[in-house]
Every structure is written in structure tokens, then in C-alpha cells.
Amino acid sequence: MSPVEVILIGISVVFITLTILTLSTYFFGWIVNKYFIDEEDDKEKIAAIVAAIQAGGGD
């Protein structure tokens, strides 16, 4: 295998692999957040909303 082939294959495969990882991370992140949010996350969100309401006025 020639050095030029190694360089071209190397750069291409690095980009292909990390592109697939990018798309997969977006996809699985979306799936997890849409369908598999666990109780802890919900509690955190509710706590944040409650805190925002309390800080926003009224008493």
C-alpha cells in the first residue's frame, strides 16, 4: 500500500466514522430524551420550573 493511499484512506475513514458518530449521537439523544426520560430528569425539570415560578413573582 502506498503512503498516499494510507493518507487518503486514513483521513476519509476518520471523517466517515466521526460523521456516523455525530448523526448517531443526535439520533439516540433525541430518542432517549423523547421516550426514555427517567424520573430523576423529570424531577429536575419540575424543580427548575417551580424555582422559576417562585423567583418570577407572587409568593
Binding site: 486514513g10 483521513i11 476518520v14 471523517f15 466514522t17 456516523i20 455525530t22 443526535y26 439516540f28 439523544g29
Partner: protein, 366 residues
Amino acid sequence: MFEIGLFAMSWQQAAMIGIGLLLIYLGVSKNMEPLLLGPIGFAVILANMPLTGITGETGLLNIVYTELIGTGIIPLIIFLGIGTMTDFSPLLANPKTFLLGAAAQIGIFLALGLAIIVGFDLNAAASIGIIGGADGPTAIYAATQLVGERPEIIAAVTVSAYSYMALVPIIQPPIIKALTTKDQRKIRMGKMRKVSRKEKIVFPIGVTIIVGLIVPSALPLVGLLMLGNLFQVSGVMDRLSNTGGNALMDIATIMLGLGVGFLMTGDTFLVLETLKILLLGVFAFATATAGGTLFGQLYYKLSNGKINPMIGAAGVSAVPMASRVVQKMGQEEDAGSHLLMHAMGPNVAGVIGSATAAGILIGLLA
């Protein structure tokens, strides 16, 4: 028969003891990668004392190198430890920064090309190129797989990789400055979204499977990195995470220092090739930084100026030094700028990118 060591000492051994002292000085007094340069420097002194037999076939240093480093075990264990200490949240919050980690790997391949031009064969050139990945364990693992029978190259690659990692704050800023404008360096980036625990758990498993299927030869490095990370993010394997990131990592680091010291004997290290490798290492680091920054410029254009192009420079995997450099340079232009977490995305992507690049080269050439 008893012999006095002093009379058997060659000038090369004396010079190497001087280099060992210098490495200890840099580690201890200048705080440059002290956990690595300290043990390596001491082991260099051990390895170059005459008539001790410590580097002989049954000598301690020879055994440590042959059984633990030459086989690739220690670099992989260190990668597991790194996994326990790495937070991939910035990357999960902004997955497009993965590609900045890919762009910075261009330094590996440019240095490979230059190494061929200056006379190295393809396997040696690939080992030298990996210095541009800015990742010590990856560089050692790749070198042992690619040029296992040539200790002089492994030693120079290792010293180069770890020394330049410590020099990131000196090497990167002039290159970043040359490739960005003052206004670009001032760009503030918004707050990142919070990443859920389940995303963090799915990530190491997913990366392992995907990388394993595309680049099988990268799996030892990426797999161990991700296993360590799973220990950390699961929240139920604290004991394993603590051991992997502390005791095991420390043991592996000591063994690495001793093993690399074994390689640095006068007759193998004091050759012209070492100097060439050290210079090629700087080139690899510099072009990696440039590649990441230029890709950052592309992101800057595509985002209509919302992404600070400097974060691309953190795509070299020297974690977290490269991110700190970006943060510091951002604050020099605008004291209220906080780029650290934004730079951490490409930074940890660079760890995966350099391990993938090493795996590709091993798969093609080993």
C-alpha cells in the same frame, strides 16, 4: 568478577543520565506532566547505569517493557482510566463538534507524509504521525503495534508525544492567532443544554459498537476508553470508576514510566532519527491545531458567526489543556467569554478521533 560501574560508563550513558535528570527537572520543577516525566526520567537513569543488568533479558525494566508495554496492555489500561475521568457531556450537548475532533486528526496524516519525505518507512512514519493525535497512550499503543521491534522509534515517539502535550499552551496560541481574527476570538457562545443521565449511559455503549463495526482495529483503545466512561456515568459502579481512575491508573503510569525509560538507552536514543522524530512531532501538533482551527472557521461561516472558530483547535485530544488554551485566549479578548465547555466538546471528540486514526493505521499497516 566485581567491576566498578564508573569505569564502564560510556559517553552515551552519561548523556542519557543527563537527559533523565532534565526530564525529572521538567516534571518536578516546571510541573510539565510530572506524573509521567518523573518516572520516565528516573527510569532513564536506571536504564543507563552501567553493569546493573536492569535492562538485560531478565532485568526488571526489560520485563516491564516486554510484558506490559510491548503487548499494549498498559496504554490500554491508561485509556480505561482516562475514560473514568472524561466527561462527554459537552460533546453530547453539541454533537456537531465531533467533526472538529476529526479535522484535527489531519495533523497525523500530514506528519506521516512528511516523515516519508524525510526518509522514514511507512510504519515508522505512521507511528510518528500519531504524535499529532496529542494523546500519549494512543501514540505508545500505535507505535508498539506498528514498529514493535524498533525501540528507538517507540522511545522517541513517546517522549515527543508527552513532552508536546505539556507544551500545548506554548505551541497552540500562535497558530490559533494566525488563523483567526481578533473579532472572531471575541465571540461568546451561549449556554449548553443539560444532558440526561440516560444519554450519558447510551453514549459509551453506542460509540463502542459503532467504532467496533467500522474500525475493528480501533476497538481496544476506544472500547477501554468507553468502558471506563461507563463505570463513571452509570452511577452504580463507583468502586470500579474510582479504582480505574486512581489506583489502577497510577500503577499503569508507574509501569509506563519504567518501561519507556527502558527504551531510552544511549545506543538507541542518541541517534539522528530521534531528533527528526522530535521535529516531526512539533509539525504534527502544529498542523493538527491548524486543521482544527480551519474547520472551526468553516463552522463559524456556516453558523453565521455564532461559533467561535478557536474551539476547533481543541480538537487535538490533549484534554483538558487544549480547552484551557481556548478559554484563556477567549478571555484575553473578552473577559466575560466562557469557551471552556464549548471547547471540551471537540477536545473529547479528539480523543475518539485520534484513537480511531490510530486504529485505522494499525489495521492498514500492522
